[in-house]
């Protein structure tokens, strides 16, 4: 491969924040409202806290035992190539499916909100082509663009929260615990896969300008996106009753429709198109890039770029697999969302922990591995 891409700290933070916070425009508010009713806003906080803890552990282990290595290299050292290939195929599959699902949801959003009479094929194709183009430009392009989109996203979400202030009903937030603390906790763990930064961070690790900033990158992006999601959910639940919220297929649109600041500023949902289309494209481009990059790493392609058109076509086809949206949502909820944590959390943690255990076993057995690690360290120094 050509000269390794290097991405700055701020750009990485922006990118990771966007891919998590953009869940506010997807089905996430609907799912959490359905399961935990009034306490939906607690879910991102709990999920975020768990993510933060997991991330800090993973980061500590990575920097202590596997400096300057990404998860593929760790897995290859621990399990050998064939098993790594299997793991990577799972992750690539997850990325492809989630891209397809996100693409379908956003396409439907576009149709319901702004372009009701345009064929879905055209809208979806434009969406996918744009994401593929950005993914093709590489991580550098994605992260730099994310850095531009980030302020729009943050200001947009906060503005949306504040502009609906005249519809707030704080009483909608009670009873405080919604459908019960236990349900809230369980659901938070289930839907933790929205925080797929841990997985991405493990992949992107060697691309950071300053790997030392890694803890900062992860922490800031998790905290900021948690705050944005929570703020959005609190407002959403103050404006709509939990039952209504559980039926909304596009929370942001529902909220934006409510804006009424006098006769001149009203019905601003179209303006928010810029906000969520840009965020969605960044999100999709990241997962497309992730799929291509990991696949390339696993099978030893010199460059992953030529595979991007094919992968995005595959995503596009999968996104249109089910003709009706309801089935797409059900599938997304039942499989990707509720079981995503196995890929996003369990897998990287499992790989790294196995690596650490193997590392310890080896060190007990002989100094070969140690020497190798040392050599690697000096090579990177």
């Amino acid at each position: 491969m050509k000269q390794k891409t290097r991405v700055g700290t701020r750009e990485l933070i922006a990118m990771l924040t966007i891919i998590v916070a953009s869940n506010a425009f997807l089905m996430y508010p609907r799912y959490v409202s359905q399961t935990t009713l009034e306490a939906a806003w607690m879910e991102p906080i709990i999920s975020g806290a768990i993510t933060l803890i997991v991330f800090l552990i993973v980061e500590m282990l990575l920097s202590k035992y596997f400096p300057y290595m990404d998860i593929v290299q760790v897995s290859q050292e621990t399990f050998g190539k064939p098993i790594t290939m299997f793991f990577i195929l799972i992750v690539v599959g997850y990325f492809i499916l989630s891209t397809a699902s996100v693409s379908r949801q956003f396409t439907e959003n576009v149709i319901t909100t702004v372009l009701p009479s345009t064929p879905i094929l055209l809208i979806g194709a434009v969406f996918m082509a744009a994401s593929a183009y950005i993914a093709y430009m590489g991580l550098e392009g994605i992260c730099r663009t994310a850095y531009f989109v980030q302020p729009i996203l943050i200001i947009g979400i906060l503005a949306l929260c504040l502009m609906t202030a005249n519809w707030w009903h704080p009483m909608y937030l009670f009873p405080f615990w919604g459908s019960g603390p236990w349900v809230v906790l369980k659901s938070s763990v289930f839907y933790i896969s929205i925080f797929n930064n841990v997985l991405l961070l493990c992949v992107i690790f060697p691309h950071a300008y300053h790997p030392r900033d890694f803890r900062v990158i992860g922490t800031v992006s998790i905290v900021v996106s948690t705050l944005l999601l929570t703020a959005f959910l609190v407002t959403f639940h103050m404006v709509f009753s939990p039952v209504e919220a559980g039926k909304a297929s596009f929370a942001l649109y529902q909220m934006a429709r409510m804006i009424y600041l006098g006769r001149f500023f009203q019905r601003l949902e179209s303006i928010f198109v810029f906000l969520w289309v840009t965020a969605a494209i960044v999100k999709m481009a990241v997962s497309l890039w992730g799929a291509g990059y990991l696949l390339g790493k696993a099978v030893g392609w010199k460059s992953f770029r030529p595979s991007i058109p094919s992968i995005s076509l595959l995503c596009f086809a999968i996104s249109l697999w089910h003709a009706d949206l309801v089935r797409v949502i059900t599938m997304d909820d039942q499989y990707l969302m509720q079981w995503g944590w196995t890929v996003v959390f369990a897998l990287p943690v499992f790989i790294i922990l196995s690596g650490v255990i193997r590392h310890h076993l080896r060190r007990g057995g002989g100094g070969r591995d140690k020497r190798r690690n040392k050599r690697r360290r000096t090579a990177h120094a």
Binding site: W301, P306, L314
Partner: protein
């Protein structure tokens, strides 16, 4: 049917592109890599073919 053929132009181009990617990898002596590229190309082509067939016929 005509719509289907039109719609398949882009997937076909992507297929050709991916196969030439596979050939390029083969010329670099990466048999496995090129095989994966072929599989990917055929998979995406047939998936999109299935979707478009269902849509337009």
């Amino acid at each position: 049917m005509l719509k289907f053929v039109f719609a398949m132009i882009v997937p076909l181009m992507i297929l050709i592109y991916t196969i030439s990617f596979g050939l390029w990898m083969r010329s670099n002596h990466q048999g496995f890599g090129s095989a994966v590229a072929y599989v990917l190309g055929v998979l995406s082509f047939s998936a999109s073919g299935f979707i478009f067939w269902r849509m337009f016929t």
